[in-house]
């Protein structure tokens, strides 16, 4: 496959998966409502403190939860669905490298998570009176897509394992809440045990949500944004390098068709 054809494959794959995801009203509904349950609890709990700034902190963090949920659970389940329907072998046999097949799936998932992000901010504003005024609109407008892309890359790395191991999709479910916690979506990382902090540093969502908060609240989002972007690129490189060897292993072990 020529290098010039890669962007076309990525763009078409992304658009096709986005359209497929948009056809499932049930999944779309769940993607929006699921993080709202957790956000509601956070708003109610922090609301009891009477501190508006804490509520604002929680509101922005909660809005990113849905992006990660969409990628972690649905992203890995989508690859598994391809396997169950017998289409994973066709995708692998296509001339497009498997990495460029998986990448649009997880980035499309992350994009769907934007619905949830908007819904959570709207929910907080309508029901809890949390007024999110954006101090740096331009930086906010950059921070959100960079964070979404970086989370999509993390999902991509996760989905590579699903190609090889048919039960690895369960990892997506297992990682959903721990990443919410460790990345500081609802709770400051400073109150977590010391040993957890290095884990949060290697997670792009940690820096992404910080960048979004900083740009919304009037801080300096650039360092966090660069860290988020750097980690996202790192996930991409690791995923691309690993994808072919993982695929070779899946072929040798004949695990592509096993559901």
């Amino acid at each position: 496959m020529s290098a010039a054809a890669v962007p076309r494959a990525l763009a078409i794959g992304y658009w096709m998966h986005l359209k497929m995801l948009a056809t499932s009203a049930f999944n779309g509904f769940l993607a929006i409502i699921w993080p709202l349950f957790f956000a509601t609890i956070a708003f109610l709990v922090y609301g009891l403190t009477g501190d508006d700034r804490t509520l604002l902190y929680a509101s922005i963090g909660a809005s990113v939860m849905g992006v990660w949920s969409a990628v972690s659970t649905s992203g890995s389940a989508t690859v598994q669905r391809e396997r169950r329907q017998g289409t994973l072998e066709l995708l692998v046999a296509a001339p497009v490298p498997i990495a460029w097949v998986l990448l649009p799936i997880t980035t499309a998932m992350a994009t769907v998570g934007l619905y949830s992000m908007a819904a959570t901010l709207l929910w907080g504003w309508l029901l809890f009176g949390i007024d999110v005024t954006i101090a740096h609109p331009l930086q906010f407008a950059v921070s959100v897509p960079v964070t979404v892309l970086a989370i999509g890359m993390l999902g991509f790395l996760l989905s590579v394992t699903v190609v090889r191991y048919r039960t690895a999709w369960a990892l997506g479910n297992a990682f959903e809440l721990p990443v919410w916690l460790v990345s500081g979506f609802l709770v400051p990382i400073s109150i977590l045990p010391e040993w957890v902090r290095p884990i949060s540093w290697v997670l792009a969502p940690t820096w992404g949500v910080r960048a979004i908060r900083e740009s919304a609240l009037g801080g300096q989002p650039l360092p966090d944004l660069l860290a988020c972007l750097g980690l996202g690129v790192g996930y991409l490189l690791i995923g691309v390098v690993c994808a072919e060897s993982v695929l070779r292993s899946a072929r040798q072990n004949a695990s592509l068709a096993l559901s």
């Binding site: 109610l44 039960t167 709770v187």
Partner: protein
């Protein structure tokens, strides 16, 4: 002494053997090496998330969140497994075969609930023990058995709601989505993470009519040193709510089965 009537023996076999086979089939698609950690990691992650949220806000103690979330997580097996017992049979086209048999419906469906209650109970107990150890919660040893009883009653109660989800699986395809939504409602409304008296009035009014609310409250009081007799009314209410949902679920199952036959939708998926 005469032998029990043949119909009773058959019903007993359908209840016990049928329930075990159905449960094994339900989870046969997933390796135990993944299934078991999924049941064990999930509740601990939820406990950690909300316990730290509680610490951050300074609203309630670690014990409050450990007990609330451990018992609430029983809802995962209770809701998902019950909806899958109908939804998966429907998807695999075996529901029609089962319902065309002369097997009485009550033991047929109740049998599917028994392993689920046990599953929910074990998940909650694991979460209580490990969550308690993680946060060094001090519970008097005399409260262990009563808390186990409260957990069992809560699992039963939640399985009652699972019956309603199972009945709805005759009408909707996305049973996992349905179970997730019901789980989310329980998470917000049953007092697992926010004391019921601190919920907005309309939410606090809904709370007592849901499974888990009374069971969680009973377990918290027991952990604080109350005697079993002191929380007897809470446990009775919890069991009553579960029984009410179970009856509603059975009636819905009967109605939707009848309607599925009439509209020939039993195997459409």
């Amino acid at each position: 002494m005469s032998a029990p009537p043949r119909s009773l023996v058959n019903s007993g076999r359908i209840l016990v053997v049928g329930g075990i086979i159905s449960y094994r089939a339900l989870f046969n698609w997933l390796s135990p090496w993944i299934l078991i950690p999924s049941f064990l990691v999930g509740p601990l992650a939820q406990i950690l998330l909300f316990a730290y949220l509680g610490r951050s806000a300074g609203v309630a103690s670690d014990e409050f969140y450990v007990i609330g979330n451990a018992l609430q997580y029983a809802a995962i097996p209770c809701l998902f497994a019950m909806s899958s017992t109908i939804g998966d049979e429907r998807e695999e086209k075996t529901l029609g075969i089962i319902l065309s048999t002369p097997a009485p419906r009550v033991p047929l469906f109740l049998g599917r609930a028994l392993p689920v209650i046990l599953n929910g109970f074990l998940v909650a107990v694991f979460a209580l023990v490990v969550g308690g150890l993680m946060f060094s919660i001090d519970v008097p040893p005399s409260a262990y058995t009563p808390i186990l009883l409260a957990t069992l009653v809560a699992s039963f109660s939640c399985t009652g709601l699972g019956f309603v989800c199972a009945a709805l699986a005759l009408r909707v395809r996305e049973t996992a989505v349905l179970a997730n939504v019901v789980f989310g409602f329980l998470l917000v409304f049953c007092g697992a993470n926010i004391p019921v008296d601190l919920l907005p009035d309309w939410m606090a009014a809904v709370s007592p009519w849901l499974p888990l609310t009374h069971g969680i409250e009973a377990a918290r009081q027991l952990a604080d040193g109350a005697a079993l007799g002191d929380v007897g009314d809470l446990l009775l209410k919890e069991a009553g709510v579960g029984a009410a949902f179970l009856v509603i679920g059975m009636l819905m199952l009967a109605y939707f089965e009848w309607e599925s036959r009439r509209r020939a939708t039993l195997e459409t998926f």
